[in-house]
Each structure stands twice: as structure tokens, then as C-alpha cells.
Symmetry: C2
Subunit: 187 residues, 2 copies
């Protein structure tokens, strides 16, 4: 069941069977159905999730009840409300399932124990963290500098398979454009 | 000269004198004047910078010659076009000085050697990386969900001293609002 996690980590750092057994002990497995929530805004205990199968959505709902999609997370993604996770503050984001999903999850305490005991896992997470940061920088730049049309075309290039898996209202929210604008662009 | 870097790292991990001497060897020092560039779009060799004094701006200029500010970097910030830095691709961002500045800089090769030889530095950079990622997530959310007025007020709360140090045109670019909108908000 944890093979996917091992393959994922070993793309960056090789592991012995003992090391992987030790890593596995820090994670828990959960199977969730479409529409279920893994994190709800206001939650006080937040885990970090590794997606094995399925599709999740990380979003924030504002005071006017409008939902803003931070990102979608599919196979091999790490996802959480990381502000809440690392700072032990109340969740300000929700994580829910757009498809049935299987995830592994870890608490901050287990995460920290794992890092302290196995420095090579820090090397792995540092690499992942760099990639996430680069992707965030590109997203910020895209929100600042590109038109709705360019953003939609970028999305198609970056995530060609998501178009079939996510409804247009959510894609519009992710792109920061209105549903009407997206319909015009994608017709 | 490197004391500031040591204090900065020791907020996360304690260092022996030998360890800090080893870290220092991997960095170079540079003094730069206002208006000088540390990275120009198209550069093929990009370093990662630690700001000791002064104020830098990381930005991207689009095909219509419009500048978009990714962020400002002042004392104790790490800054670079990290896509270019980590992937060894041509820079798509510029890093220039809004004030005279003193920086320490490191190449990716030295960075990697340092990490391989001193795992505790990975712990430090992982922590920094988490904080940067959280800040990016908040910025994305802010660009997606808040009005120009809210964004301006957030900026004032987060960076109260930058208002005196950065001109309004650049703040407008950072916030993704027009210069006219910003004048209305800040008058």
C-alpha cells in the first residue's frame, strides 16, 4: 500500500528497506469518498497529506461565501493548509475530495521526529519544497501579469488531464476569472 | 561581516565556530549600489542571495514592457529567481537594488556541497523554505480573493516600513493594482 510513497521518495533519495519501514511507521492511511473533507476551515488539528490516488481541492471560502481554489492535488502531491500545519493555528483553508481518494497523512510531531532521526528525509522534503515554491512564484507571476486567456492556456498546458476531472466553476476559481469568462475562453 | 548570517542561521540551528567557518567559505560578499542589477532577465548564471543591508526588488518584465513585482527583499531575506537557480535555466526575473545593499551569495554547486557536508544546514533551509511557501500561499489567496483596498491594508500591516522605502508605482505593481487605484487608496 505504501509502495507509491517509497517510489516517490526514491526519485530523490535512495532508501534501504529498514529506512522505508521506519518512514512508513510515521504515516497513517485513509480512504476517503468524493465530497468528504480532510481539512475544514476552523480545524485545530491539521495533517500533511500525500495523495496516492484520487483528486483533492485546497480552497478558502471568503466572508461573502465565495470559494477560492488554492490548488488541486492529485497522485504524488503533498497538500495541506501548511500555515495551520506548521504554526499550529486554526485552519483557514479546506481540503476536500473531488474524487474518491487514498491518502497517507502525517502529524507535525511525527514529521519532526522523522526529520530528526533520518536527515536524508530532510533532503527529500527540501527538494519538494523548492519545487512547490517555484510553482507558487510562477502562479503569483501569472496572476499579476497574464490575461484570463493566457492563464487558461497555461492551465491546459500544465494540467491537461485536470480539464476532464474538474468542473468549470472550480477551474474558473483557480484561475481567478469569472465562470462566464471561462466559458467564453473554453468554448 | 558574516555575523548577520550566523545570527540568522542560529535562530533555527546552533552552530559551532568550525561549522560556521565552513558555511562562510561557501558564500561570497558583494556590495551593490542603488539601481545596480544582481540578476538580469536572460542571465545564465544565477546565484541565491542573502540580504545583509539594503533593499532589493525581484520582478518580471512582460512582453508589453510592463514590470510585475514578485517581491521586495530586505535585511535577512533570501532572494533569487529560484526557477533559474535550481533548474539552471535562463533567468526570467530581474533582481535589482532599490537602495545600496550588501549581500552574500552562493552558487548552486556550493549550496549542494554545503548541504551534503552539513545536514543541519538542510534543516535550516527547510524551515526557511516552509515559511516562504506559506507566504506564497497567502499571497496567491490574497490575489485571488481580496479587493485592492484589502490588499493595500494587508501590505501596510505586513511591511509597515516598506511604505517609506518603496515608491508607489512599485507598490501598485506588487499589489497587482493600477497606480491610480493605489493613489486613491493611500490618499
Amino acid at each position: 500500500m505504501y509502495t507509491r510513497l517509497r517510489e516517490h521518495i526514491e526519485k530523490v533519495v535512495p532508501l534501504t528497506d529498514e529506512e522505508f519501514a521506519f518512514i512508513s511507521k510515521h504515516f497513517n492511511y485513509r480512504k476517503v469518498k468524493k465530497h468528504q473533507y480532510l481539512i475544514q476551515e476552523g480545524d485545530t488539528t491539521v495533517y500533511s497529506y500525500f495523495v496516492m490516488t484520487g483528486l483533492l481541492k485546497l480552497s478558502h471560502t471568503d466572508a461573502n461565501d465565495k470559494e477560492h481554489v488554492l490548488h488541486f492535488a492529485t497522485e504524488d502531491w503533498w497538500v495541506s493548509d501548511y500555515q495551520s500545519y506548521f504554526h499550529k493555528t486554526k485552519a483557514t483553508m479546506s481540503l476536500d475530495c473531488l474524487e474518491d481518494a487514498e491518502v497517507l497523512y502525517i502529524s507535525l510531531e511525527d514529521d519532526q521526529q522523522l526529520h530528526a532521526a533520518l536527515p536524508k528525509i530532510e533532503h527529500f522534503f527540501l527538494r519538494k519544497s523548492h519545487l512547490s515554491y517555484i510553482a507558487s512564484q510562477q502562479r503569483i507571476l501569472s496572476l499579476l501579469s497574464t490575461s484570463a486567456k493566457e492563464r487558461y492556456e497555461q492551465f491546459l498546458r500544465q494540467y491537461p488531464t485536470l480539464l476532464q476531472r474538474v468542473n468549470k466553476t472550480l477551474i474558473a476559481s483557480y484561475l481567478g476569472v469569472s465562470r462566464e469568462t471561462l466559458s467564453r475562453l473554453s468554448s
